[in-house]
Symmetry: D3
Subunit: 171 residues, 6 copies
Amino acid sequence: MSRAFIVGRFQPFHLGHLEVIQEILKDHESVIIGIGSAQYSHTLQNPFTAGERHLMISNTLESRKIFNFYIIPIEDVNSNPLWVAHVESLTPHFSSVYTNNPLVKRLFYEKKYNVKSMELINRVEWSGTRIRDRMIRGENWERDVPETVSEIIREIDGVERLRALSESDDL
Amino acid sequence: MSRAFIVGRFQPFHLGHLEVIQEILKDHESVIIGIGSAQYSHTLQNPFTAGERHLMISNTLESRKIFNFYIIPIEDVNSNPLWVAHVESLTPHFSSVYTNNPLVKRLFYEKKYNVKSMELINRVEWSGTRIRDRMIRGENWERDVPETVSEIIREIDGVERLRALSESDDL
Amino acid sequence: MSRAFIVGRFQPFHLGHLEVIQEILKDHESVIIGIGSAQYSHTLQNPFTAGERHLMISNTLESRKIFNFYIIPIEDVNSNPLWVAHVESLTPHFSSVYTNNPLVKRLFYEKKYNVKSMELINRVEWSGTRIRDRMIRGENWERDVPETVSEIIREIDGVERLRALSESDDL
Amino acid sequence: MSRAFIVGRFQPFHLGHLEVIQEILKDHESVIIGIGSAQYSHTLQNPFTAGERHLMISNTLESRKIFNFYIIPIEDVNSNPLWVAHVESLTPHFSSVYTNNPLVKRLFYEKKYNVKSMELINRVEWSGTRIRDRMIRGENWERDVPETVSEIIREIDGVERLRALSESDDL
Amino acid sequence: MSRAFIVGRFQPFHLGHLEVIQEILKDHESVIIGIGSAQYSHTLQNPFTAGERHLMISNTLESRKIFNFYIIPIEDVNSNPLWVAHVESLTPHFSSVYTNNPLVKRLFYEKKYNVKSMELINRVEWSGTRIRDRMIRGENWERDVPETVSEIIREIDGVERLRALSESDDL
Amino acid sequence: MSRAFIVGRFQPFHLGHLEVIQEILKDHESVIIGIGSAQYSHTLQNPFTAGERHLMISNTLESRKIFNFYIIPIEDVNSNPLWVAHVESLTPHFSSVYTNNPLVKRLFYEKKYNVKSMELINRVEWSGTRIRDRMIRGENWERDVPETVSEIIREIDGVERLRALSESDDL
């Protein structure tokens, strides 16, 4: 059985991620979606918890009748040479890895995995950094994420969280 | 939406666990299955990795046409008062907790969760400890687990792993 | 200025601890009370959180008009050779160490500290282990702790917590 | 009983901190002072150990006849969603939180705490960053801290420590 | 170049260990000696620090004109599936693993390493557990270790340390 | 016996390091070489694993007939006040410390060690940062490292690793 692995931080899950997963599922029976840096949240880089990101992904895929995926939170291990073994211990076996992150790419490559890059259409728009910046500046960010994701971010008051965190202080 | 949470170590996933999950799904739309002590494996108490346990559970449920579940590995945090917050950060929200473990029960109870016990039919047989003992002693353990689980344990050479670990040494 | 250091787990704080602290304060201007294994709670050995133990100690001492103490939670560092440096980094300087724990005694002794043993009157009764056992078995444990401590344990439902944790399970 | 909680890094404890604590004690019976990032020291951002910071605060308050405070070192837990539970486990209960730090503010706010901001008079001067910069550049920093704090920093050779750390090297 | 790897806790390094290393060096150009559980010391199971154990091994081998060895302290990683990757990241490459420890054997075996058992002559005497017991009971333990090791244990007051740790207490 | 301690990250080991070690060995019987930040690798700052760095150092020294050294990987402990105790627990005793790193210098100085600076000839060229930059830009980096080091970097495909890691991405 052919299973693929994709890992990202999904801060937040956006249309580029969705497209990539749909592409992967054309070639594989199922996909394991690793939520990287799972222990982090409430920072400007990582505003959402792993549980919130899980919900963004699962609600989106299920709303599109996609069910052949597993979502696995993956906490950082603070030591790159242990990271692939860490992933292997947490997930069912997989044959291919999809990522554009150079570190992830290299770590799996050195462990002899079949690593594939993804061509993201509309790369500029579909960037987590850009979406978070728009949230902070009060610009339109919703067009770059699935509707299911906007809903969750609204429910958890996510934009307000990000803005609150972006204030600075030095008591 | 009514989601339930069940947590166990699933070393291995057995017929008792399966029955409990089926019972839970009579009352809830979906179930989050937390794989506890996720970082441990290759010990007598915890022979299987989180990934292997994931496969045992997902293969079993899917072979029975059950799809409304999420499996989430949960690493120990080494500090009980942080554990519920740790679970909350990793999972989508849930309304009820199912467990027979006294510590888990107490920790969620003190955080005002609705905690439910489970009556396990055939309790004596369906015990992880007992199944692991049988594996080591070469007795019939397969009757207490779903066939999908026996298959995985065979593939990963699980009984041999457990027996190898049960040898002792003091160099 | 002469400051003393005493460390214990205080599970719970009992009359023996109180007596020792009163003795120490006859020879020193102030005492630093280290709450050891601060990160643990909700186990049979360590039922109470560091915050609960803090309250037991501070309420008791203040009710007796003792104010020249500091209470400092000290988390285990999982490596004995680092422990004294860990304590030193968390506390104001001190000149003497009071403990009956052989490991603590040895670690400070090897770092050239002046370590003193304490003669506990009524040693048998005033034992954390014994008090916790009595709580579980429904026997009279209140006579071995200050009234301020019984009150806190009642407020946090501590006996019930300990009993709940003492049940066993093997799902 | 009304207890308040204030948390800061206190690198070092300065006149702004003192003023805020005095304000808090007008409305509360006692204050819990959390020393954040307790495990860090000997960096440009965090030059002083938790024990040194403890001494700065306790000496200052006691010299002003303030005794209704507890000082609690709080180590970072490296996962924001666990931080409030971590604080709760280490401290006696409190009803209000005082902070100007956006992250702390948000974390307590999402856990339904009553979070209050503090107006700092003379904000520009009373900044830890600014005081540390002055130490390094050999400018007058003593006017911004209580005399009890200057004394401790002199005793531990604090300015020299900071200057030594500010040198750079790349062997 | 053919390098072998042997790992043990060496609490303390004894004649059995020495013999095994000499055997290994008949078949290999050099040997990497991993000091397991390197962060532990000052317990009944692990009385000596990694540095003390390093000295026991290096002094012994050098006194016998053996120089083709590397000693590498290896801290536990608290997750067995990461352990082999952890070892690989800390050591030069090696082709064979020598161990009698069932867990180590299994972990390397599952990663396709060539794992070899060692026949220890005089197994009963040459046991760390037995040597530590003899130290505590005041019996002759020196006959089971190289003279270089007795010397180091004398210098660091090792027997007294072990005896002090073997006292028990329950304040 | 006079043993010296030198610590560095050795990313990679270069001619400046070699020269310093040769200088140290003029005044000391042996040298302990601590590989700092041992757990890190596969980053732009720390491309090589501790094992790879071990090999760079041992191959180089042995090829020059230097044998009186020990190489000890030292993982960061994430708390500066514990760092010296951490080093002491991992290494045989030493009398002098050689370093140009201001933090290391200060930490040992405050623990009363004899700390010595090193004059590096040709400082500009012999910088880890500069060598890694040259690797990335495809410039000549080999002239600044011993031949034994170039060989190892070639074998492990080190330049390609560094270049791969220097690409950026923001999926």
